[in-house]
Symmetry: C2
Subunit: 205 residues, 2 copies
Amino acid sequence: MEFSSKILEKAVEEMSQLPGIGKRTALRLVLHLMRQPKAQTQNLSEALMQMRNDVKFCKSCNNLSDSEFCNICSSPKRDTKTICVVEDVRDVMAIENTSSYQGLYHVLGGKISPMDGIGPHDLSIEPLVNKVKRGEVNELIFALSSTMEGDTTNFYIFKQIQEYNIKTSTIARGISVGDELEYADEITLGRSIVNRIPFENSLKL
Amino acid sequence: MEFSSKILEKAVEEMSQLPGIGKRTALRLVLHLMRQPKAQTQNLSEALMQMRNDVKFCKSCNNLSDSEFCNICSSPKRDTKTICVVEDVRDVMAIENTSSYQGLYHVLGGKISPMDGIGPHDLSIEPLVNKVKRGEVNELIFALSSTMEGDTTNFYIFKQIQEYNIKTSTIARGISVGDELEYADEITLGRSIVNRIPFENSLKL
């Protein structure tokens, strides 16, 4: 692309560093900003800088937070003995949206993935194991996505805490609510039969 | 969406003001920035602010530019008597990429579109008409998109300059290079037959 303005080109260049934003999309976005009042660009720039400078990782669960401990960890209403292990902040938000969980979280910050060069030490696994060691945990719920990497990560953590004899569980795999059986993949369908639940339980939610 | 950090929420809010970026995409983008070095966010913020503050509209053709007159208008190599009328900066870049045009441009900044509340006075039409009035133009090439709005805008400008007896033309409508005839729409196909060109001309590019 041939730009008539170097400054514009620089803005497009920086914008296209974002994941899923190519040069053309970046150009569309910055031209939109050019047509809007200056205040909009200023607000965006300042919000991004403030976020990068001021948002912290919760010292207990590694969730994003404005203060040292996140609002979930510091809430007196939560069951502090149950910890749900998730991959990232979006998973916390997704589970919180269901309003069906009252325990705490532990955000790993990713999954073990040798292909992407992510090993156990790049993730927040040690602080989690330490919590278990200190006897702060009754139940650990694994809520990683059901992929090779997710299963590997689950198993790695499970091995580390096995000796401490706490309860461990994983979220149920099965047919999504509203889905047709005939379109379900066979692994999911198979698991949903093996791990069938008492009918009364299905009436609860 | 329930955010664990207000600052994060603000950043997502601002990011999702951009066209085509919803809340979920915005969250994905800002979380990506959180995982990258601070410098990336800083570069992005600064590039956007600099763009909004320092990029000017060329005083002659309304193209985006770093200086008072854009590099096309101030180039001694261009044919200053031929002006190609386009909708926005992206069209200038697209035509420049073909390397088959040596005249100047005039960027309208949009199309006449009553549905979106855009009238002739919201566009840079008057400066263009003035150029024609001052006798600075030999040929005006209309290169707007072939839609109701584009045709209306072409016709509006044509009416204003009709009396000055300059040459006017519009870019050719026809079957795209590489396209199959059977899939072409009938208006395009019809126009391409009516406005057929000498065979020798088709060998030139």
